[in-house]
Symmetry: C2
Subunit: 189 residues, 2 copies
């Protein structure tokens, strides 16, 4: 049987992560990332618009969140729909098999200002995507904004909690608990 | 009497804004900004770390928010302290005299991806600054996070509302109304 080979996109992501860890983001070129992945520069640019983008996966996360909100039961209130979306993220992106990758990716981003900027912009995109998905469920505008903003905050806090190896729960459960903590915290504001 | 001249920092900001409007952010150099302001490149770099930074005023806004929260009456609950901070922003940065400048600055940022990234990162800095200032008032961690996150959202929405020339209220009043709307929205999540 042939050895399992990740798809070109994943190979590029892993190659980039390795190189950023070895020599830093600034000193790594797109050509080197493509070579390490056994691919060409033009394949790189078919998948990613620039070097920064390789760690951010385009709009996949935003789409995952929007789809998760759309798929929640029709009667679910906004936070319940957000919990549904975060559970979907836990099933696809923040799985236990990907825990190590996710932590390495995060450490690399924390070390580079350009990557932190891209991440900040992506974060706004996630919030906007959840806001729009909630509005499509006829949630009133301001309520959609608040639920999406707190949903994005829950995602960050749940991610920190889930990163702790002492916590064996899956991401979706951690996120649901976090949303409920945020609701209690909001009542004290 | 001598004609009033804004300080070097403000001259650089206005010169940059004009040039970004005239020829776009990418095609403007730091030397051109300094020349337009009647100053040197080294003066530019004494005030700003790079070309992007000229529209973001360093950490001034983050400091303004933190000081406003610290100066709120000791017994003020978190949202009240945030309202205090947003009123301070209204008195210093979002004054009626600066309404036109603020709108022009915003239009320039909206047109350029690099400036949007920097703005996104600055937005995270504002939220972090408010979170820390609330914690120093002994607000519990999660409550501080939620109040700061919703405070940052209130600032954005209040800014949109205040930008509408039909609304004659000052920024602080608009922000206070917005915070109260967000509190009501949060209860429906």
């Amino acid at each position: 049987m042939a050895r399992w080979q990740p798809n070109p996109r994943e190979r590029l992501v892993f190659a980039a992560l390795e190189l950023f860890e070895e020599r830093g983001y600034e000193l790594t070129t797109v050509i080197e990332i493509a070579e390490r992945a056994g691919l060409t520069k033009s394949t790189f640019f078919r998948h990613f618009s620039d070097k920064r983008e390789v760690l951010f996966g385009g709009e996949a996360m935003a789409g995952l969140l929007a789809d998760g909100i759309a798929a929640a039961p029709p009667a679910a209130p906004p936070f319940e729909a957000v919990a549904h979306a975060l559970a979907a993220v836990g099933e696809v992106a923040f799985t236990s098999a990907r825990r190590e990758f996710v932590a390495r990716r995060r450490a690399v981003i924390a070390m580079n200002p350009e990557l932190r900027e891209r991440e900040a912009l992506k974060g706004l995109g996630l919030t906007a995507s959840m806001t729009e998905a909630l509005k499509r469920r006829d949630v009133p505008d301001l309520t959609a904004c608040v639920a999406a903003e707190l949903g994005a905050l829950a995602m960050k806090i749940a991610y920190d909690r889930w990163s702790d190896p002492a916590d064996g729960d899956d991401f979706g459960e951690v996120a649901r608990r976090t949303l409920s903590d945020l609701r209690a915290a909001a009542a004290l504001c």
